[in-house]
C-alpha cells in the first residue's frame, strides 16, 4: 500500500478503510485530517504524505505551573486538543513550548496580520532561526511558518502536507464554515488550538472536537489572579445634544416601524442577517439606512471626543489604546490628537511600524477599530478607552485583555464611553456579562 497527499486529501492505491473509491481518478481517497488514523492503522504503508524533519532548535522556556499542566494534558491527548486560557495568561509561550517539544515542521495560524507578525517575531527570538510568513503581502515558506486563516484556507491544497504540527491561535475562528476546511485539508498529525473564548454563539465549536481534538484544558480569570494586572472599569455616560436626540429617535422609529410592519424579530445575528437580506427594496433600504444612521448617532464620536480629551489629559505618557467600532471614528481621533489609526485599511508594514513604536514608547496612544481586539501583545499598555463597541462579551473580554499583561506595580483602567438614552446602554450591559469588575462607578 502506498499513500500520498493530493489537494487536501490522502490518496491510496488500495481499497481499504477509511478510503473511498474516487471514480473521477480511479484511485482511493480520504480527507487529509485522517492521516494520523491511517498512519496508526497501516504503519507499513509506503508513506509519501508528509516530510518528517527533525528541527535543530532549543529554546530556553520556563513555564508557569498551570501552563505546564496544560501542555501535559495536550501531550497525553496524543498532541491534539485546545487549551483555553484568558488573555494575558501566556498562550503564545505554550505554543512555543509545544514546538520546542516536538521539534518538527510547524504552521502557526492566526486571525490578523498583527498576530501573525507577533508570532513571527517571538518565534525568531526564541529559536534563533528564520521563520516563514504567508499573508500580509509575504509568501515565504520555512520549516516554521506563520500564516493568516485566510491564506491557510486559500492555500490548503498546496500547504496541507508541509507541516507536522498545526497551531491555531484564537482557534474559535477555525470553527467558521470556511475555515474548518483548514482542519480537514491539512494532514498535520499534531494539532494545538489556543483561545480565550472557546464557545461560539452558533455552537460550531463542537466541530473542533472532531478536527482539533476538543477542549483539553481550561482556566478562567478567577484562577489566575497572581498572573494578571489589577484593573478597574469606569463607565462614563455621554449625553446626546437635543438635535441629535431628536434625529436619533426619528431614525430609530423608521427602523422599528419597518421591522414591526414586516414581522421581523431581531434576536441575534441570524435575525439581523434576515433583516439585511430583506432590505433590498426601497422601503427596506430606507429602514437599513435609518438603522445605520441611528447607530452612527449613538456612537456619537463628536460628543465623546471631549471626554476622550479629558481622559488623555489625566494619563499623559501612559500607554493608551482607544477602541471604536467603526474606522471613521478611529481616523477622526487620529486627526484630532495626531495619533496613529490602526484599521483594516492600514498597510501591514505601517501597522507593524506603529506597534513597534508603541512598544518602544516613541508613541503612547493608538486609535484602532476592531483589528486590535484580539491577541496583540503590548505588555505595558495600561489604559483602554472604548469609544464604541458591539454587544459581544467576547470582544469586551478581548479588549480588556489588551491592558492586562502584568508588570510590576501596574494598575490598568478601562473606560467605556456610552451614549445615554440610546440602545448603546443595553449593548454595554450585555457585553460585560460575566466579566469580573474591579471597581465600577457606573451611573
Amino acid at each position: 500500500m502506498r499513500i500520498y497527499y493530493d489537494a487536501g486529501t490522502i490518496v491510496s492505491d488500495e481499497n481499504t478503510d477509511p478510503f473511498l473509491y474516487d471514480k473521477r481518478s480511479g484511485l482511493y481517497r480520504a480527507p487529509a485530517y485522517l492521516y494520523n488514523v491511517i498512519k496508526k492503522r497501516y504503519p507499513d504503508a509506503i508513506d509519501d504524505v508528509i516530510n518528517h524533519k527533525s528541527l535543530d532548535i532549543n529554546a530556553d522556556i520556563n513555564l508557569r505551573p498551570y501552563q505546564i499542566k496544560s501542555i501535559e494534558m495536550w501531550a497525553k491527548n496524543d498532541y491534539n486538543g485546545v487549551i483555553v486560557l484568558p488573555t494575558a495568561a501566556g498562550k503564545t509561550m505554550i505554543g512555543i513550548y509545544a514546538i520546542n517539544m516536538l521539534k518538527t515542521t510547524t504552521l502557526v495560524i492566526a486571525p490578523t496580520i498583527e498576530l501573525v507578525q507577533q508570532w513571527r517575531d517571538k518565534l525568531k527570538r526564541f529559536f534563533g532561526i528564520e521563520i516563514g510568513q504567508i499573508g500580509g503581502g509575504e509568501k515565504d515558506i520555512k520549516d516554521i511558518t506563520v500564516i493568516t486563516y485566510d491564506s491557510a484556507y486559500l492555500m490548503a491544497e498546496s500547504l496541507g502536507n508541509m507541516f507536522e504540527l498545526l497551531i491555531a491561535d484564537e482557534v474559535h475562528h477555525m470553527a467558521a464554515e470556511s475555515y474548518i476546511q483548514i482542519a480537514k485539508m491539512y494532514a498535520s498529525r499534531y494539532r494545538l488550538g489556543l483561545t480565550a473564548t472557546y464557545e461560539r454563539p452558533d455552537k460550531n465549536h463542537e466541530l473542533l472536537e472532531n478536527y482539533m481534538g476538543g477542549k483539553i484544558f481550561e482556566l478562567g480569570y478567577e484562577q489566575l489572579n497572581d498572573y494578571i494586572s489589577n484593573f478597574k472599569i469606569f463607565r462614563i455616560p455621554v449625553e446626546l445634544d437635543d438635535d441629535m436626540e431628536i434625529e436619533y429617535e426619528r431614525n430609530r422609529k423608521i427602523f422599528l416601524d419597518y421591522i414591526h410592519n414586516h414581522d421581523i424579530k431581531i434576536n441575534g445575528n441570524m435575525d439581523f442577517e434576515h433583516f439585511i437580506l430583506s432590505s433590498w427594496n426601497p422601503e427596506g433600504r430606507e429602514a437599513l439606512m435609518a438603522w445605520r444612521r441611528s447607530r452612527e448617532i449613538a456612537y456619537n464620536p463628536k460628543g465623546k471626543i471631549e471626554y476622550l480629551r479629558y481622559i488623555l489629559s489625566k494619563h499623559p505618557g501612559k500607554k493608551t489604546i482607544i477602541f471604536s467600532e467603526d474606522t471613521n471614528t478611529a481616523y477622526m481621533i487620529s486627526r484630532e490628537f495626531l495619533v496613529p489609526a490602526l484599521t483594516y485599511l492600514t498597510p501591514p508594514k505601517e501597522r507593524k511600524r506603529y506597534l513597534e513604536m508603541f512598544r518602544d514608547g516613541r508613541i503612547t496612544v493608538l486609535a484602532t477599530s476592531r483589528i486590535l481586539d484580539e491577541g496583540v501583545d503590548v505588555p505595558d499598555a495600561s489604559i483602554a478607552v472604548i469609544m464604541s463597541g458591539s454587544g459581544s462579551t467576547r470582544q469586551f473580554r478581548q479588549r480588556l485583555g489588551r491592558i492586562l499583561r502584568p508588570a510590576p506595580g501596574k494598575e490598568s483602567i478601562l473606560y467605556e464611553l456610552v451614549s445615554s438614552n440610546t440602545y448603546e446602554y443595553g449593548t454595554s450591559r450585555r457585553r460585560r456579562k460575566g466579566v469580573p469588575i474591579g471597581l465600577d462607578d457606573s451611573a
Binding site: 500520498y4 486529501t9 473521477r24 484511485l27 491544497e157 498546496s158 442577517e273 490628537f337 495626531l338
Partner: protein
C-alpha cells in the same frame, strides 16, 4: 449576488438588457460628472442614486465595476506615510489643546515643504477614500451592462458545488481548462464522442462544498466564448432561515447575447505538437491534451493520472508557485515549458537507444562517486535534466522508499 430563485429550485442571475439602460446611465454619470472630486463624494452620490431605483443592488454592482476600472490619484503629492510618522512621533504625548496641535502641524508642513493649508488633507493623502477621480472608466451603457452580466454569472458560480457541461463545440478547450484549474471530472461518452462532463474538486468526495466555486467562476469566464455550450450548475444558497439549499442553474450559448463579445484565441503550439483528441483503448476513454509527432508519436496529458499501458504516454503536471513537485514526476511551474519537455524527451530517447554511449558512462561514473548519498544522486540526475526514477533502474540501481525519503541501492 443578484439572482432570482424559484420555488421549484431553479436559480438564475438577473441579467440586464438594453431596457435597463437607465441604471447604467445613472452610474456612469455619477463618475463623469464628478471627475476631479474625492472618492468619498462619488460614494455618497451613488448612495443617493441607490434610493431612487427599484433595485439598489444593481446600482451597487455597476458602481463596483466603474470604481475598479476608473483611475484615482492622491489629493496631495506627498509621502503621506513619512509625514504621518513625523507627526505621530512629535505628538508622542498627544496634544490636548489646539495650540499644541497647530505647532506640531506647522512644523510638519515646514519640514515637508508644503503649505500649512494642505496639511490636514496630506495626513491621509494615500487613503483610498481621499483619492481624487482623475479619469472615469471609458465605457458606454451597453458595454457596462454586458460586463455586469458576466460578473453576475461568475458570482453565482462562486456558490457552485458541481458543474455539468454538454454540447460543447470545443471539448479540447473545455477539458484542458478543467485540468489546468486542478479540478476533477467524469466524462459521459458514446465511443470517442463526448456527451457531457461533470466537474467537481478533490474534496467533493466527502462533502458538498463551495470550495471550488472560484475555479468554476474562472472556468466560465473563458468557456462562455465557445460557439456552442450548455451548462447545468448546482448552486448552494443560504435562505432567510440560515439553511443552505441547492438550486439549479441552467444556461446555454444563447446567453451570449447578454455577455461581452469575444472568441477563444487558439493556443499557440510549437512545431510537431497538435491538440489531442479522445482515444478508446480496451473500451476505456482517454483524452491526451497534446500529441507530439517526432519519429514516433507521444501522447501528453496535463494534471491527469491517466496512462494507457501500451502507448507512448507522458503525464505532465503544471503547478502553482507553492506546490511541491512529486518526486520523479515531470512538472513545470505556471505553464507548459515545451522546450524543456522536448529536452527531456530527447534525453530519455538517447538513454534507451544509446545506453553504452560515452555520456551515459560519464553519468554512471559520477553516480558511483556520489553513492550512497541517495538525495545527492537524485539532485545530480535532475540537474542533468533526467528523470531519476526512470534512469536509475536502467543504470543498475534499485529504488526503495522510506516515508518520503528515497533510498537508492546497487541492484
Amino acid at each position: 449576488m443578484i439572482a432570482r430563485k424559484t420555488k421549484t429550485g431553479i436559480i438564475y442571475p438577473v441579467f440586464l438588457s438594453d431596457d435597463n439602460i437607465d441604471y447604467a446611465r445613472a452610474v456612469i454619470s455619477a463618475f463623469t460628472e464628478n471627475t476631479g472630486k474625492k472618492k468619498e463624494v462619488i460614494e455618497n452620490n451613488l448612495k443617493e442614486i441607490e434610493l431612487k431605483f427599484q433595485n439598489a443592488k444593481i446600482i451597487r454592482a455597476l458602481s463596483l465595476i466603474m470604481m475598479r476600472k476608473s483611475i484615482f490619484v492622491p489629493p496631495v503629492n506627498i509621502d503621506a506615510q513619512a509625514l504621518r510618522e513625523y507627526i505621530f512621533s512629535m505628538a508622542r504625548i498627544p496634544p490636548i489643546n489646539s495650540n499644541e496641535r497647530e505647532m506640531i502641524l506647522k512644523s510638519a508642513a515646514e519640514s515637508f515643504n508644503i503649505d500649512y493649508i494642505d496639511i490636514e488633507n496630506a495626513i491621509y493623502a494615500d487613503k483610498d477614500s481621499e483619492s481624487i477621480l482623475e479619469r472615469p472608466y471609458n465605457t458606454d451603457e451597453g458595454k457596462l451592462i454586458r460586463e455586469y452580466n458576466l460578473e453576475q454569472l461568475e458570482t453565482v458560480l462562486l456558490k457552485c458545488t458541481e458543474l455539468n457541461i454538454s454540447n460543447a463545440s470545443d471539448w479540447h478547450f473545455v477539458i484542458t481548462r478543467i485540468r489546468r484549474l486542478g479540478l476533477l471530472y467524469e466524462i459521459k461518452n458514446d465511443g470517442d464522442k463526448i456527451i457531457s462532463v461533470n466537474i467537481t474538486g478533490p474534496m467533493a468526495l466527502f462533502e458538498n462544498t463551495e470550495r471550488y466555486g472560484s475555479k468554476f467562476s474562472m472556468l466560465i469566464r473563458s468557456i462562455y466564448k465557445m460557439n456552442e455550450w450548455s451548462l447545468t450548475a448546482s448552486i448552494k444558497v443560504k435562505d432567510f432561515s440560515g439553511d443552505k439549499n441547492i438550486y439549479t442553474l441552467k444556461l446555454s450559448d444563447s446567453a451570449k447575447f447578454f455577455l461581452p463579445s469575444g472568441t477563444i484565441k487558439p493556443e499557440h503550439l510549437p512545431e510537431h505538437v497538435s491538440r489531442g483528441y479522445p482515444i478508446i483503448i480496451n473500451n476505456k476513454f482517454y483524452f491526451p491534451d497534446y500529441i507530439i509527432d517526432l519519429d514516433e508519436r507521444i501522447y501528453v496529458s496535463i494534471n491527469s493520472d491517466e496512462r494507457p499501458d501500451n502507448l507512448n504516454w507522458i503525464n505532465v503536471y503544471i503547478l502553482s508557485d507553492r506546490d511541491k513537485k512529486k518526486p520523479g514526476s515531470i512538472a513545470f511551474y505556471n505553464d507548459m515549458d515545451w522546450d524543456e519537455l522536448f529536452n527531456l524527451i530527447s534525453k530519455k530517447r538517447n538513454l534507451s537507444s544509446e545506453i553504452d554511449n560515452y555520456s551515459i558512462d560519464e553519468i554512471k561514473k559520477k553516480l558511483d562517486q556520489i553513492y550512497p548519498d541517495s538525495q545527492g544522486m537524485i539532485d545530480y540526475l535532475e540537474s542533468q535534466g533526467l528523470i531519476p526514477l526512470r534512469v536509475l533502474p536502467e543504470l543498475g540501481y534499485k529504488i526503495k522508499w522510506k516515508n518520503l525519503d528515497i533510498i537508492i541501492e546497487k541492484a
